[in-house]
């Protein structure tokens, strides 16, 4: 029929694209035809917005009823706006040309489109007109252009390079002036130099330029090469890592960006997607409570609970009814495949889980045809006629169907929904206490609960209501509200059947990973397109936020600017007060409020963002995710964004580090990301092991590179003082080149294998990441140390050389070689002192390099044309040469070792302590002796809350109290003091806002109490 198969890249705007079931939509399409007679098709938009339920899309009204043959011949015009990134808006219109009768303009909305990266589900085929292709699709526009990323370490190195450059300029200017002065005074007396009396005008510049040449090696060019080399190896280590290989999906980790591994060690904020990233995006029915009996509590799986199976076997009516609701009250479509198995197509994963569970419990939904629905229960077929479907809305939080039982013609209302939406509508006199308890119990386990209920209707009641329903359904104004009202009339006096508990399986190891990383002082934000309740539930179950007594959720909501502003102000106020308390405070905000907050209250929101360690942002769009990343980045925080779907691409690209999970929502995120991993849990290893080592190694390597360049440069500068400030180079050019490129670059390259602490120790003490995050190992003050060391070493080498090789031995080539070999010896020993772990390769590189130095120079010394002909042999034969070398090493390294030892033993950092502990053997498991101190802390906190009556403002109430689950308690093994170091980190890192935080503290007694608390902390 003229359709050809082409590559997605060859689709042009205007083409009609035919899709089959489960195809990924290759570009943005306007839907013109589907296999469904009503012109509906289902799409999964998870890759686009993170929402997992299926969405319905309708064909453009003008094309309604066209047969596939006609669709091939269709001609028309579509007027559509310029490409933009708004995935919730599409304002266009379509007009068909004759012979198609409908010659009017037909408006198009987002409901008439199929957007790129969605999947066509439950629909045999669909066809549409390509309107945006390539990077102009909604998703493509969302993606944005990735900027080249620069790590914090690189930025610091650049800064230091700049400082060294300034230093170099100063040196050049000072020495240049001194050289010119010396030339004009002293050098005029040196007859043997024969300076002309009058030189050309540029004569003044000659000496400064010579010094510029001498000092140009001050900035090591080799650092760039070395860094690129080691960085690519860091990336390779990630690719090679056995422990980050995902066996389930057969995906190894991959570092697509080889330049930013150090940043992994400096992450301060992790922004994570929820669906598919934290969760597996796979719902499983786990437990239920039917008529007061709990099933599945022992085994953890109700489907295997013998008691329940027995109850089904004996056809207990309450259980049967429960299963009927599970199987019937939904919008799931059963599809029978060729080999007889039934597969279900569900809009929501919850319904899917329920229907599957019902099928497993012998209540098999096997046919839905128009209004009739057939269920197979224990080999007998039950037929139901669907009369009405009361759809789910987020306000009602429940959905119902009204069916006629074809066996006895009775009309039944079947309802399922959130507990808070169902339980209040229970028929009076029914005991709902057990259900409340069940909900509470399940929620504690992090299960998603649904409450199932039913009611038998009598014919008259239904007929009466049905009229109202139809009327409401056809109103034009406030339809949704009216419908809700009508539905409410029916959905009362319900008989509660029971509670189901569904597990949205967290990925393996997610809670542990989050806990470890939070101990490491990393703040977590969850950005999800999903609903608020789901987000909070997941957050609770994966240690993201702590349950009630310890943690607290603050909700920012509102539909307009005023409400949001007030809400924000209240939350901020609470946050300021509680920021000093040992309490996990998190705020929750939804997309609407976020948009308003970012637009009108950016400053306040930014303050909130910096105060809060944890945040949950739900119903956010891809661009809002990116905006939030941008916000944190603007406050100079290192951000890591992790996600798995197309909706995370923008955020991943925007963040300092983007991590993609090569997961079920496709590979888009993984492709756009800097790192792709198979599972969320690998993030721990990626940051704590690879990130930390990379940072440590780069910090050492870069500073060492500066050190060795400065060392040789300082010697040149010192030499200029005894050579008439004329800019003579002590070293010949070959030695200088070899020094930078070879002698000093090779040994330092093996520092990529250096490990200060074993991987296990780091995992046990993630707090140690603090040193990397705050840049303790590479900053101006550590750099000053290296600068001082190079100055000191240069002095040692220079003074010893010129004092030993003076008088009759002051031959220039010899002296230069003595000084050079002195530098090489010092290099080797500096490497030894600074290396934490010696592998064979390290020994080979350090000592091999020293030997290579002598071999190479001896070879050069055999060349008669070389300036240093025979020099090396002469030196090696002199005992005084070797004695000089040992003197240089002892004098140069003695103070370094002494200072290092002193600091290591008496002013040791946490890294040193862990090294020592590691050496003594065995892991250092954290201890219980902190407990008493903690108690006293708590007392103080209690005192504090008494002294601040104003703390009981409305927002202070737990957000979760609006559900019945307000008094959730953690079952998870909460470590009692995991927040302390990070707490203090907050106060240290945020000290910039601390001052104004204190000022805005209104209640005096609060700040007094705070002071007390702080002083108490210091004593502790």
């Amino acid at each position: 029929m003229g359709a050809v198969q082409i590559q997605a890249q060859d689709i042009c705007v205007g083409n009609i694209v035919w899709l089959r079931e489960n195809d990924e939509v290759p570009c943005d399409l306007v839907l013109v035809g589907t296999s469904d007679p009503q012109g509906i098709c289902y799409v999964e938009t998870a890759a686009l917005d993170g929402e997992t339920d299926l969405k319905t899309r309708v064909i453009a009204s003008a094309c309604m009823g066209l047969s596939p043959e006609l669709l091939h011949k269709i001609k028309g015009a579509i007027e559509c706006p310029n490409p933009d990134k708004d995935i919730r808006r599409f304002d266009a219109n379509l007009r068909l040309f004759p012979p198609f009768i409908d010659n009017d303009l037909c408006p198009l909305t987002i409901n008439n489109t199929l957007l790129q990266s969605c999947y066509l589900r439950n629909t045999e085929w669909a066809c549409g007109v390509a309107v945006y292709t390539g990077n102009e699709t909604k998703l493509g526009m969302t993606r944005g252009i990735p900027e080249p990323k620069l790590t914090a370490v690189d930025a610091m190195i650049d800064k230091l390079t700049g400082a060294i450059f300034l230093f170099q300029i100063v040196v050049v200017i000072v020495l240049g002036i001194a050289g010119n002065v010396w030339k004009d005074t002293e050098a005029q007396k040196l007859w043997y130099v024969l300076y002309p009396k009058e030189g050309p005008w540029y004569e003044l510049l000659v000496i400064p330029l010579r010094f510029e040449l001498l000092c140009s090696i001050m900035i090591p060019i080799s650092i760039k090469v070395s860094l690129d080399l080691v960085k690519s190896l860091y990336a390779k280590f990630i690719d090679w890592d056995d422990e980050m290989y995902d066996h389930d999906t057969n995906t190894p980790s991959h570092a697509a960006n080889t330049a930013i591994s150090e940043d992994l060690g400096q992450v301060e904020y992790i922004l994570t997607d929820k669906t598919g990233t934290l969760t597996e995006n796979r719902m499983i029915f786990r437990r239920c409570c039917i008529n007061g009996t709990f099933y599945g509590n022992e085994s953890g799986d109700a489907l295997k609970d013998m008691e329940l199976l027995n109850a089904i076997g004996s056809k207990r009516p309450d259980v049967i009814r429960f299963l009927t609701v599970m199987a019937v009250c939904n919008t799931v479509i059963p599809l029978r495949s060729q080999n007889g198995t039934i597969c279900y197509k569900a809009q929501s994963q919850d319904e899917d889980a329920l229907v599957h569970a019902a099928a497993h419990l012998h209540m098999v939904l096997f046919n839905k045809n128009g209004n009739t629905l057939e269920v197979n229960f224990n080999a007998s077929v039950l037929q139901y006629e669907i009369l009405d479907t009361l759809e789910f809305t987020s306000d009602r939080k429940r959905m119902s169907v009204v069916v006629r039982d074809c066996q006895n013609q009775s009309i039944i209302l079947l309802t399922k929904g959130a507990d808070e939406a169902i339980l209040p509508n229970a028929s009076s006199g029914q005991q709902i206490r057990t259900y409340v308890e069940a909900v509470e119990q399940y929620s504690q386990l992090g299960l998603r609960t649904l409450c199932l209920a039913w009611r038998e209707l009598n014919e008259d009641e239904y007929r009466e209501w049905s009229l109202l329903f139809k009327e409401a359904n056809s109103t034009l104004v406030d339809r949704e509200w009216k419908l809700a009202e009508v539905c409410q009339r029916l959905e009362n006096d319900l008989e509660i059947l029971g509670i189901t508990a569904i597990e949205d399986r967290l990925q393996d190891g997610v809670p542990e990973t989050i806990e470890t990383l939070r101990k490491a002082g990393i703040n977590f934000w969850m950005l999800t397109g999903d609903k608020q309740n789901t987000a909070i539930q997941i957050a609770l179950s994966c240690n993201f936020i702590s349950p009630e007594p310890k943690g607290q959720l603050l909700l920012i909501n509102g539909k307009n600017e005023d409400e949001v502003s007030r809400s924000l102000e209240r939350v901020l106020c609470t946050m300021r007060i509680t920021s000093s308390e040992p309490k996990d405070v998190a705020f929750v905000i939804d997309g609407w409020a976020l948009e308003i907050a970012l637009k009108h209250h950016q400053k306040k929101f930014t303050e909130l963002a910096t105060l809060s360690r944890t945040a949950i942002c739900c119903r956010v769009t891809p661009s809002q995710k990116a905006q939030l990343v941008e916000l944190l980045k603007s406050r100079e925080y290192r951000t890591l964004a992790i996600g798995d779907g197309g909706n995370d691409v923008r955020m991943i690209q925007q963040a300092d580090i983007g991590v993609g999970i090569s997961g079920r929502e496709g590979l888009q995120a993984a492709r756009a990301a800097d790192y792709s991993i198979g599972k969320f849990k690998f993030l721990k290893r990626l940051i704590l092991v690879h990130g930390r080592y990379s940072y440590n190694r780069t910090a050492f390597l870069s500073q060492y590179s500066f050190y060795k360049s400065l060392l040789i440069c300082f010697i040149q500068i010192f030499f200029s003082f005894i050579s008439g400030v004329s800019g003579t180079s002590l070293f010949n050019s070959v030695s200088l080149m070899a020094y930078n490129v070879f002698y000093t670059s090779v040994p330092v390259l093996v520092s990529i294998l250096d490990k200060d602490l074993s991987e296990r120790t780091v995992m046990q003490h993630p707090q140690i990441l603090f040193y990397c995050q705050t840049g303790r190992l590479l900053n101006p003050s550590t750099f000053a140390g290296w600068f001082g060391r190079s100055l000191f070493h240069a002095l040692i080498v220079f003074l010893i050389s010129i004092n030993v090789y003076n008088d009759e031995r002051s031959e220039k080539e010899e002296l230069s070689m003595v000084a050079l070999s002195g530098c090489i010896w010092l290099q080797a020993f500096v490497m030894v002192v600074e290396t934490n772990s010696f592998t064979v390769l390290q020994h080979l590189a350090i000592w091999g390099n020293l030997a290579a130095f002598y071999v190479i120079n001896c070879i050069i010394s055999t060349l008669p044309s070389a300036g240093m002909y025979t020099i090396m042999f002469r030196l090696c034969r002199q005992p005084s040469y070797w004695i000089t070398m040992f003197l240089i090493v002892a004098a140069g390294m003695g103070p370094v070792v002494a200072v290092k030892y002193f600091r290591y033993t008496y002013r040791s950092s946490a890294i040193n302590k862990l090294q020592q502990a590691e050496r003594l053997g065995g892991p250092i498991v954290s201890l219980g002796n902190v407990e008493p101190q903690l108690k006293s802390m708590e007392k103080d906190v209690a005192l504090l809350s008494i002294s601040q009556p104003n703390s009981r403002n409305p927002v202070y109430e737990p957000l979760l109290s609006d559900s019945l689950t307000s008094s959730r308690r953690s079952l998870g093994p909460a470590t009692p003091f995991d927040f302390f170091p990070t707490q203090s980190r907050l106060s240290s890192t945020y000290s910039r806002n601390c001052s104004d935080k204190m000022e805005t503290m209104e209640a005096d007694e609060v700040s007094v109490a705070m002071d007390k608390l702080q002083s108490q902390n210091e004593i502790l």
Binding site: I11, N22, L71, A130, K189, P252, E811, R985, N1017, L1020
Partner: protein, 353 residues
């Protein structure tokens, strides 16, 4: 716009199918290097190690220092500064005029006393002070190619300003270094008997053999208006001009000694050596000293106490550090690796600073 009835799509199918058969192939290969698990030893700075290292270094350094000092002390050295004394008292107001004049008698006689027995060979050096042989303009002003072989006679690049004679012909050897060749001469006599000074083999063999050609003869040397230093015997090839070869090994320091000859007889203590100096070389314009040095040698070189003193100092400091670390260790014992020292364990408020 034309809606063409073409195109179908296949995006996801291909990729999902192709990945299925390639299972079990993506697992990274295991090796100890790729897993960063190479066996490593992790030395840490334990008090034992550090203290014993310092002690050992101290104990080794002090004897070496003593030996060096002893060797240096055994070297007998006679140093005689003659640049001022060799100018007649009446002319000392204008030393420059004295040295630059062709008329003045520049011969001067000095008498040296041998302080101790000196075993042959006794090296005769001249020492110049404040003379910048390492000045960039000076040190560059030579052409090694020209010195090496006759065929490169015209190679005078980098020799400015002493590249070509006034008649435009190349100077051999060209450059400032050769031009400013030292030209004082010494004649030694011991109790009115001439003391033979061997002027052979004072230059490096390698220089004579490879750097200075035996077919290169001086040409146009010191023929310009400005006379720098010594003239060269035009009939001797450069490889035999040993004074020049020694002079052209430029010194790295502004104070340096250059070998002038060797006395190959032993001298006894309190013997009087008379030196007749031809004081030609101008160091007066820049205030440089000229010294005549007679010195024996030892395994460590000439007389230089620096190594010995430095070794004793460093060795002493190492011992001192070792002792003070021991004291510190007993005064403030620190159990290594007590996890309760960890800030997040010991200090709930977590002042990690």
């Amino acid at each position: 716009m034309n809606l063409k009835a073409t195109a179908a799509s296949s995006t996801s199918d291909g990729t999902s199918d192709s990945s299925a058969p390639r299972r079990n192939s993506k697992k990274p290969k295991y090796s100890r290097f790729t897993q960063q698990e190479l066996p490593a030893c992790k030395p840490i700075l334990t008090p034992g190690w550090v203290i014993s290292t310092f002690a050992v270094v101290g104990i080794i350094f002090i004897p070496i220092g003593l030996a060096s000092l002893f060797a240096s002390q055994r070297v007998v050295e006679i140093v005689d500064r003659y640049d001022i004394d060799c100018i007649p008292e009446t002319l000392r107001n204008d030393k420059l005029a004295f040295i630059q004049s062709r008329e003045t008698n520049k011969t001067c006689t000095r008498s040296l006393t041998v302080p101790m027995d000196m075993k042959s060979p006794i090296y005769v050096y001249y020492e110049l002070d404040n003379f910048y042989q390492n000045h960039r303009r000076y040190v560059k002003s030579r052409n090694d190619k020209q010195l090496q072989s006759k065929k490169n006679e015209n190679e005078t690049s980098s020799c400015d300003p002493e590249a070509n004679a006034s008649n435009g012909l190349p100077i051999v050897p060209c450059g400032l270094i050769a031009w400013s060749l030292f030209n004082d001469t010494y004649r030694f006599s011991l109790s009115s008997k001439v003391l033979e000074v061997n002027k052979k083999n004072i230059a490096w063999k390698s220089d004579q053999g490879h750097k200075f050609g035996d077919d290169v003869y001086p040409k146009n040397f010191q023929s310009g208006g400005l006379i720098g230093g010594a003239k060269l015997n035009a009939s001797k090839p450069l490889s035999e001009q040993e004074d020049l070869i020694v002079w052209m090994r430029t010194a790295a320091l502004p104070t340096f000694r250059k070998l002038w000859g060797k006395i190959e007889v032993d001298l006894e203590a309190n013997e009087q050596i008379t030196v007749v100096i031809q004081n030609n070389y101008n160091t007066y314009s820049f205030g440089g000293k000229k010294k005549l040095v007679l010195s024996t040698t030892s395994w460590i070189g000439g007389k230089n106490d620096f190594l010995g003193v430095a070794y004793l100092t460093v060795g002493g400091l190492c011992l001192f550090l070792a002792i003070s670390f021991i004291l510190l260790y007993f005064a403030r014992p620190r159990p290594l690796g007590d996890p309760s020292f960890l800030s997040w364990n010991s200090d709930p408020a977590g002042h990690m600073n």
